[in-house]
Amino acid sequence: MASEAARVEVQNVSRWYGDVVAVNDISFTLEPGITGLLGPNGAGKSTLLHMISGFLRPSVGVISVLGATAWRNPEMFRRVGLVPERESVYSFLGARAFAEASARLHGLPDPEDAARRAIARVELEDAQDRAMGGYSKGMRQRAKIAAALVHDPEVLVLDEPFNGTDPRQRLQLMEMLRRMAAEGCTILFSSHILEEVERLAENVLVIVNGRLAASGDFRQIRRLMTDRPHTFELRTSDNRALAAALVGLPHVSAVELTDSRLDVRTTDFGAFTAAIAAAVRDSGVTLQQLRPADESLESVFSYLVGS
């Protein structure tokens, strides 16, 4: 059943603490590329990532990473890198010493060089010899990432990697992760911030209350959920006239006129997109702009969370 290509395979995994279910029957596989694990706080993201990194035993189910079971398998870290969420670091080390220690613990042949490259990747050269105790959150985050990269892992797991980073650092880290993905690395990162996932991830796993609520390309997910209302923003030469025409359509549930825009809510994505052209033509207005107002991960997410 296990496909050879899957770098990470999660099969019917559940994890509970006492009678609290943190992760509930989740299955998915990861291929090379970037996958975002999205969910609100307490959804079970960290528990899932800890299980994938072999730090938690699944109560039920199997997780394999690069073909081997993750639980009780420290050897897998030869090809896996982990960036944990907790902010604590060895406060007495500098980032370079930290990365170098990591390289040595991996038994790399040239730890100094590996550390230098990892530090360069996260652009932390300026502060690399200062003790990490005095770092800002963003710097610590980058130091942790550098330490996880020293051995050029095939699978990289990051728990909330962008916490505390400023926008410029965030862009830079995202660029770096994209490059790694392009080189064939399998990257899984968690976040509760939609914008991050939307900008970085090709694939999304949405986890709500411990259950996998959706997975795949997020636009696709969005389209699959046809029973949920969608809103379109229209700009036309005569908003009022078009509004009158649209109100009559069966799948249009609401029409709202604002100063320069017409917002239309529909219950059927497909039917509306098919009918809009005719409605515009029949009412004789010129269509200047038509765009889905909520084609963002945020709306998918809030919809899932709300359900």
């Binding site: 603490y17 006492g18 609290v20 943190a22 960290s46 528990t47 800890h50 990194s53 730090f55 938690l56 035993r57 009780r72 420290p74 050897e75 897998m76 870290f77 030869r78 896996v80 890198g81 982990l82 944990p84 907790r86 604590s88 670091v89 060895y90 007495f92 080390l93 220690a101 990591s102 040595r104 613990l105 991996h106 038994g107 330490a147 996880a148």
Partner: protein
């Protein structure tokens, strides 16, 4: 790999304020020894009884267990507590190696703290290296005790996050009380291994032990091995994650 592990652990253990304060504790028996030597009524000749009382009272019963508790439970325990243990465990390192290194560093730190204190106390009170080799017995017994206690507490810290309080109860209730009342429990008291070792190495009358030297040595080896095995067993099954 092992060297890096060693130096990281050593750095974490010794680079802290508590290490300095603990080191001050080690000066107390030496100070008391000086006081006794120069102000005491020890009379002529080596004061074996006084030396024994001081070494047993301070080094064996206080400094040794307290030092080993601090270093043993924090060698791995403080890393678990502040979360940095993840960085260690997210490497392809066999868990037994982690446990062994932690035990070695904790033992070394405890030896560094206690053995000079034992030696100096003996040498100061006895006015040099005595012929009955009490100084030797005290030092060797302290080294043995450092290794056994520290390894035991490293093992304990893989089992529970409350290793310190459990260790304290073990030392100050079990060893101090139960073993005193019921000598059948002497086999499960590290204190008895220490005193047994010392007793075997010097003919001085005031040094006593419930175990003979051979028994103490065997028991020490068993406890160290068992602690390492138990520690490895628990560390391979060690779970990191939010606790509910």
């Amino acid at each position: 790999m092992t060297l890096t592990l060693l130096s990281l652990t050593a750095h974490q253990l010794l680079g802290r304020r508590r290490a300095i304060l603990i080191a001050l504790l080690a000066l107390i028996p030496v100070g008391v020894a000086l006081l006794i030597r120069f102000a005491g009524d020890t009379g002529d000749g080596p004061a074996y009884e006084t030396a024994t009382d001081t070494i047993v009272g301070f080094v064996f019963l206080l400094l040794l267990p307290i030092g080993a508790l601090v270093f043993g439970t924090s060698a791995l325990g403080s890393e678990v507590e502040d979360g940095t243990v993840v960085y260690l465990l997210a490497h392809p390192i066999a868990r037994w190696r982690v446990v062994v290194v932690k035990a070695v560093v904790a033992s070394a730190a405890t030896i560094l703290l206690t053995a000079p204190a034992a030696l100096l106390t003996a040498v100061i009170i006895l006015g040099g290296f005595d012929e009955e080799s009490l100084w030797w017995a005290a030092t060797v017994a302290t080294v043995v005790g450092s290794v056994v206690y520290s390894t035991l507490f490293v093992g304990l810290s893989t089992v529970t996050s409350r290793a310190l309080i459990i260790g304290l109860i073990y030392v100050f209730v079990w060893e101090a009380f139960i073993t005193n009342l019921f000598s059948g429990t002497r086999w499960v008291s590290v204190r008895e291994y220490v005193e047994g070792t010392a007793n075997a190495l010097t003919p001085v009358e005031s040094v006593t032990g419930k175990l003979d030297g051979q028994e103490a040595a065997i028991a020490s080896v068993v406890v160290v091995a068992a602690s390492l095995i138990v520690g490895t067993w628990f560390l391979t099954r060690f779970e990191i994650g939010e606790r509910a």
